[in-house]
């Protein structure tokens, strides 16, 4: 190899190293780390969270910061990979000296970061992590979302008690903990309430063809079909299900909440029910305000992950305010006790156990719009 080529390569490498050195931090700010998935196959969710979190932090700083101190956000990408998330966490803790970690977005990443935060004694709050096991890792671990078991139970109760459904089928993503967790909770509660799960089918993350599973389900002709997954997969499933002749009542989860659902489902989502945090039509000013501003800023309406990301910032802000400092012990205490936060996904009360206590709504898609059907106040967790 010629020396010129070697030199070019060397210069390229040096450039990368030089660019990668982080900028200098100011002293009078509160440093917060955000770990999210900006690249990789779950980037769409991670970018929603990133957008909402930066918007939330900008809001706080514009309003004068917290107790006079501005928030500075360090955003690190985890590629949706647990190993990378762990690296990012260590970097935030050791090199960036952040006061608190927001994120990561998906449960596998959260599960890799949580033991590190716990061992380091640094509070962390995942706005979106739903896996039941997350908060049991330690007392420094908090979340802003529902537990899978809570949401799955709510939908099962609603289906059995309010809709009077006796038979349900489930189609879920066997490779996704969110989907599996919701399916487990739904199944348990539904059977407890005397219902019967007559068929179950599964698929894997990244699949686009569900016709085999749906044809099998169609043969059993279930009264209702529970589809615990994000809008990106639920949409195509809804469309394919209807085209294959399934006319069951479709039951969904908060992951369905996206402006794109209707287009992805080809309009076949009509009549479906979901559990959600808030109802865009009737809920608070904060919610309306958030949706309007997010839409304006990013050119698309927020999905559920964006709303949760924004609320993560609100929870963090009230905890920082309540703690009065960035002392981890005080912050941890505050994160477990702050309450009455008027957030985009409704009123949030935190709990020392780590999962917020918030109400849920059941929405029904009627004429292409989400319509409030029921409001369920939290009955414990």
């Amino acid at each position: 190899m010629s020396h010129v080529k070697l030199k070019t390569m060397f210069i390229c490498l040096m450039l990368v190293v030089a660019l990668a050195v982080p900028g200098f931090a100011q002293e009078d700010v509160i440093k917060i780390g955000l770990i999210t998935s900006l690249t990789g196959s779950v980037a769409t969710y991670g970018q929603s969270v990133r957008n909402a979190v930066t918007m939330g932090v900008d809001d706080i700083n514009a309003a004068g910061g917290i107790n006079g101190r501005k928030i500075s956000l360090v955003i690190l990408d985890d590629k949706g990979d647990a190993t990378e998330a762990a690296q990012a966490a260590r970097r935030l803790i050791d090199r960036e000296n952040v006061a608190m970690i927001l994120g990561p977005v998906i449960t596998p990443c959260v599960m890799a970061v949580a033991p590190i935060a716990q061992a380091a004694g640094l509070p962390m709050l995942t706005p979106t992590g739903t896996g039941d096991q997350i908060t049991s890792i330690g007392d420094y671990i908090f979340r802003g979302a529902y537990k899978d078991s809570f949401q799955g139970r709510i939908m099962a109760q609603f289906a059995a008690e309010n809709l009077g459904i006796k038979e349900a089928a489930i189609i879920y993503d066997v490779a996704n903990d969110y989907s599996v967790g919701l399916r487990n909770a739904f199944k348990a509660t539904f059977e407890e309430l005397g219902g019967k799960i007559i068929a179950e089918e599964s698929y894997s993350t990244g699949d686009t063809d569900f016709s085999a599973q749906l044809t099998s389900l169609a043969m059993r002709n279930p009264e209702s079909l529970f589809i615990p997954d994000y809008y990106s997969t639920a949409g195509p499933i809804l469309m394919q299900a209807r085209l294959l002749g399934l006319d069951s009542v479709m039951l969904g989860v908060d992951g369905w909440d996206s402006p794109d659902l209707s287009a992805l489902a080809g309009g076949f989502e009509e009549g479906g029910y979901i559990v959600n945090h808030y109802s865009a039509d009737v809920d608070s000013e904060v919610t309306q305000n958030f949706i309007a501003r997010y839409t304006e800023k990013f050119g698309q309406a927020p999905d559920a992950l964006a709303a949760l990301g924004y609320d993560g910032v609100l929870i963090m802000a009230s905890a920082l305010e309540a703690a009065g400092s960035t002392d981890p012990e005080a912050l941890k205490h505050a994160l477990g006790t702050v309450g009455d936060i008027d957030a985009a996904t409704g009123v949030i009360n935190m709990d020392p156990e780590g999962t917020p206590i918030k109400s849920a709504v059941i929405l029904r898609i009627t004429g292409g719009k989400w319509e409030l059907v029921d409001r369920i106040d939290p009955i414990g967790r």
Binding site: M1, L13, P22, G40, D77, Q87, P108, A112, Q133, G181
Partner: protein, 319 residues
Amino acid sequence: MNKLSSLIKGIILLLAYLVVQLLERQGVLLPYHVQILSLCCINVILVVSLNLINGFTGQFSIGHAGFLAIGAYASAYLTVVWQAPFLFAIICGGVLAGIAGLAVGLPALRLRGDYLAIATLGFGEIIRVIILNTDAVGGARGFSGIPKYTTFGLAYLMAIFTVVVIRNFVTSDYGRACLAVREDEIAAESLGVNSTYFKVLAFTIGAFFAGTAGALFSHYLQYMAPTPNQIGFVKSIDILIMLVLGGLGSITGSIVAAITLTIIPELLRGFAEYRMIIYPILLIIVMIYRPAGLLAGNELSLSGITQFVKGARAHGNHT
């Protein structure tokens, strides 16, 4: 001379360890850095062990993460559920992965090149789907609550152990037989080399070390998720990239590449969305300029380095 150079190498390795320990105590190296160094060591084990299969024996496996998965989950199950000592768990993880390697080596007897590659890929995915469906190890929720037993020292020691064992293997009659199978199976057979045996042997040994790397990995991350980028084909391809970048058939190349490619994504992390654009461009540039890998199948050696330092012109083709 030989003894002397081994001694010097030993001293350098020991010194390197002591320097890391010292710098860590002084606070120059943060836990963040030490964690990256541990990951480097784990990746070195993975790449060097794949080198035995792909580089030295000339097979084409892209299912290495499957062996890692077996080692990672088996050892975690042992330490979490049975509270087994870590060293025992590592060995069990390695042995189980080795048995799986034996099973995968068998198709290798009939399949060649790209067909073998696809079979190994399929094998890796089968392992992943099985783990995904096994509730005892957490299924899709992942395996959490694994104790943090992997220290830098242990990972470092295991990496050295792996490198020494595999280097000794490939420079013995066994390794020469593997090389012969890679170079020309028919000639090897006619010289009395049982090519079947050596293919399976390479798969078994490579898988064993990948299994130990898996054990280190699960007790490093404290959590295993059955995702493609953790134990699936994305991970297998990551290992393959490191191997080819370092150069097939070069152990030192594998080491250099494993370390470089573990650190580069870390350096690029701040670039957010641009990171995954810069990384593949670097990869393509390196491959275009160094198609045979960074070290082009040669080994870095002490004498080579001293010669280089002395400015000897011998540097280049043979070191």
